[in-house]
């Protein structure tokens, strides 16, 4: 039998046993924690970096809300700053936090453990992926300190305004932003190749694709989407850099700026919008699919019931992935497109609701008559279902051209996309952290703090975004620094805005509770043991907790069943791990565990 060497490309059949010498072994502190090739360490590095930059974006959103809630009260927020806060908040949250956290963080930690592998197939490339990502983040942070500050072009970076004099950050900020994105994409591609090939080729014996936990399916499909969609952002970033630095006219039409005709001629700003949204819409599902997958596993585990319609869940993930590439222009109804195209894209947008609804029904049917444990991960999972349905339904409104046109530039859109792709995925992130923290550290997170954190976050985010829908219906525009005196916006809109700001500050501060919990539990948390939730998937079956390098000790696990054997009738315990052969399943008297 050929031996499988984790960082070698010439062998392919995973053996049951790996000799000690063949794994990458860090010898120094730096080799173990800094230049590490262990996917678990890389996952932590990804997660910590993503959360750190995410906190910056959180503070930016406070600053933005302060201006909206209490206009002109704070001298340090001027119109330029405000636009910069909006732009950087959006870009950081979508790309540098959520994408990196779900795929780089959870993907790296969970893929090898859940499929029963020792590591990613290309650990060196995996390490490189993180360092390129870190470099991209540092470039992004650097843009706060260059002359002119970061770009204020909005997270969509539409030309021509993104690179015209007069937009904040049009000299340095935008270049750093585009270069940072290009590096992010390069780094992600390295990681993404790893995730896909690892899922395809490094699964343990007996782990067929149709026995994979849905978490892995979500991450796998999201990675494929990202690998195919990020090139669109790459292409547009490169072309915009050329327009800006070398004077080409890909996106820049003939234009007069500050009384002077520029040398650009004949470019097409709409071309940029097509490219950007060709990336931008799949990006929504790059964030959503891992969340879908994780939430399926959380619900099944904490409701002690097998996931309803496993195969349908897998097909729904694939269908959503495929459809997400043909809906992009619903972000561009206001760009003056041919009405027939609007009709086409409205139709595809509504069609994508079908597989999504299948997933929601299946989650609810999994809960139906389950033995629901209201643990903290379960609270977050159920919170996700509510929030996602809310945000998804307003998406159906906005997918229709006639509804979208009047609402497109209002707070309604802000409320919609924050519900569906900010709050919903972040609730899953929290749920997942509460769920897997015991595996990562060997200690439980504090339950009481977790519950307080959940309720403030959940109720608080509704306090933020529900009123925003009303503001949108009233016609309160988004992206505006100040609304000023207008006839159609009543005085009360201002009090609502102030209330939203207060809610946003409270929710933001509540996250400190979570950070405190993370740090405190690391030292003082209750020891968790190897499998505190009585879960079935392979990551809970490691001989040590936290898992050591190589994950599974001497023998790789062998898989006999899917990951959802909960509450099987006639079996002693209410769960059967994936690596327990049918002959070893204890039968007889039910023991509640």
């Amino acid at each position: 039998m050929p031996t499988y060497v984790a960082h070698d490309e010439s062998d392919y059949a995973p053996p049951t046993e790996v000799a000690e010498v063949e794994l990458y072994h860090p010898k120094t502190f730096i080799g173990k924690y800094v230049w590490s090739q262990d996917a678990k360490v890389i996952a932590i590095q990804y997660a910590v970096t993503a959360i750190a930059i995410g906190l910056v974006a959180l503070v930016l959103s406070w600053l933005m809300r302060l201006q909206l809630g209490f206009p002109n009260r704070f001298a340090f927020i001027n119109p330029s700053n405000y636009l910069q806060f909006v732009s950087m908040h959006g870009m950081i949250m979508v790309v540098y936090l959520l994408t990196a956290l779900f795929l780089g963080g959870f993907g790296n930690y969970l893929i090898p453990l859940m499929i029963g592998a020792r590591d990613m197939v290309f650990p060196y490339v995996n390490m490189l992926s993180y360092w390129v990502y870190l470099f991209a983040v540092l470039l992004l942070v650097a843009s706060f300190f260059v002359p002119g500050g970061p770009t204020g072009a909005g997270w969509t970076l539409y030309p021509p305004q993104a690179i015209l004099d007069g937009t904040p950050g049009a000299s340095w900020g935008i270049i750093l932003m585009l270069v940072s994105l290009a590096f992010f994409i390069i780094g992600f591609t390295m990681g993404g190749l790893n995730y896909v090939v690892t899922v395809l080729q490094a699964r343990a014996r007996g782990m067929t694709m149709m026995r994979l936990p849905l978490t892995i399916w979500g991450i796998f499909m999201a990675t494929i989407l990202a690998l195919l969609a990020f090139p669109a952002l790459f292409v547009s970033a490169i072309m915009m850099i050329l327009d800006l630095t070398l004077g080409t006219s890909f996106f820049m039409p003939a234009i007069v700026s500050k009384g002077q005709a520029l040398s650009h001629d004949g470019g097409s700003p709409v071309l940029f919008q097509h490219l950007f949204w060709f990336f931008g819409h799949p990006e929504v599902y790059i964030v959503a699919l891992p969340a879908f997958g994780i939430v399926s596993d959380l619900i099944s585990t904490h409701a002690r019931k097998n996931i309803f319609g496993y195969r349908m869940m897998v097909w729904a993930i694939v269908a959503i992935g495929g459809l997400s590439f043909i809906v992009w222009a619903h972000h561009m109804y206001v760009s003056g497109m041919n009405p027939y195209f609007g009709f086409f894209f409205a139709t595809t947008t509504l069609i994508i609701a079908i597989p999504t609804a299948i997933k929601v029904y299946n989650w609810v049917l999994t809960l139906w008559r389950g033995d629901i444990h209201f643990s903290v991960p379960m609270l977050f999972a159920i919170g996700f279902i509510f929030t996602f349905v809310n945000g998804g339904l307003t998406g159906l409104f906005l997918g229709n051209v006639v509804v979208d046109l009047p609402l497109s530039d209002t707070m309604f859109v802000v409320a919609h996309f924050h519900m569906v792709m900010a709050i919903a995925p972040i609730l899953v992130v929290f749920g997942a952290i509460y769920h897997w923290y015991p595996k990562i550290t060997g200690r439980m997170l504090d339950d009481t703090l977790g519950r307080i954190h959940f309720w403030i976050t959940f109720v608080g985010s509704y306090a933020i975004y529900y009123p925003m829908h009303y503001l949108g219906f009233m016609g309160v525009p988004r992206r505006y620094y100040a609304i000023g005196g207008t006839n159609f916006i009543p005085e009360s809109a201002q009090s609502l805005n102030a209330a939203i700001t207060i809610a946003a500050l409270v929710v933001g501060v509540a996250q400190l509770l979570f950070l405190y919990n993370l740090v405190r539990s690391y030292y003082k948390g209750k020891p968790s043991g190897g499998n505190p939730w009585n879960a079935t998937s392979l990551e809970w079956m490691t001989p040590e907790t936290p898992p050591t390098h190589g994950n599974f000790g001497k023998d790789l696990p062998v898989v006999y069943r899917w990951a959802y054997d909960f509450s099987v009738p006639g079996v002693r315990h209410d769960f059967i791990p994936q690596n327990v052969p049918p002959s070893d399943v204890p039968t007889g008297g039910w023991v509640k565990s």
Partner: protein, 233 residues
């Protein structure tokens, strides 16, 4: 975007076909007494080969998007075609020969003919370097003839697309140099065969991409035929 959508449709077709194979007649909820009773765990293909195939899908997506952007732009009325440097024909011939040389090297590696592999790699590498320098000369010629980068949309796209393709060729040369080290060093026959095999696949890919780019860039007739017959997304 039609070009990209066509590519994605093909890709999604492949994914769906593969998934059908995985899930038809499979009952995930049934436990099996032996792991060997179900497929999975043993794979006929090596991870590096899979990784290359996935990477080629990513690169195809990238080029398809560039061509899509080009296709959207070429339909504008102000499109002014470029002169067609004759050298491009020679460069294309050189790249074709490099691809053939790589394939020949792969055959040599398959036979276990190490001196043959060394010769083949050297020839393929030299030809590829010849192609890259040829492309640089084309740039110089165009630039000297009064068509630098920012002249018109046509020049901008010409330089951009050739540059992106050229960078992929250079990336291939990095892999080629590693294989070269293997061929002269003490790598096992298996490792060498894998390295050469992957290089050959990549070279053929680069050749196909270049032929498509050449068709849409240089021959405005073909470019227009491909790009304007499609729905104007």
């Amino acid at each position: 975007m039609t070009v990209t959508l066509l590519f994605l449709a093909l890709l999604m077709g492949a994914v769906v076909w593969w998934l059908l194979k995985q899930s038809i007649n499979v009952q995930p909820w049934v436990a099996h007494a032996h792991a060997q009773d179900v497929h999975g765990g043993v794979f006929p293909r090596q991870p590096a080969t899979t990784a290359l195939v996935v990477f080629l899908a990513v690169a195809t997506s990238l080029f398809a998007l560039f061509i899509s952007a080009y296709a959207m732009r070429i339909r504008y009325l102000d499109w002014s075609p470029l002169p067609q440097p004759r050298l491009l024909t020679l460069n294309t011939a050189i790249l074709i020969m490099a691809s053939i040389a790589m394939e020949w090297t792969a055959f040599a590696a398959h036979r276990g003919d190490r001196p043959g592999v060394r010769r083949g790699l050297a020839v393929a590498g030299a030809l590829t370097l010849g192609f890259v320098s040829g492309q640089l000369v084309v740039w110089k010629q165009l630039s000297d003839a009064g068509f630098p980068l920012a002249t018109s949309a046509a020049t901008a796209f010409f330089y951009l697309l050739t540059a992106v393709h050229g960078l992929h060729v250079l990336g291939g040369l990095v892999a080629w140099s590693r294989t070269l080290v293997r061929a002269w060093g003490g790598a096992t026959a298996d490792r060498l065969r894998l390295g050469v095999q992957l290089c050959a696949i990549y070279w053929h890919f680069l050749l196909v991409v270049w032929l498509v780019l050449l068709a849409v860039l240089v021959s405005n007739d073909i470019g227009l035929a491909i790009c304007s017959s499609t729905v104007s997304l």
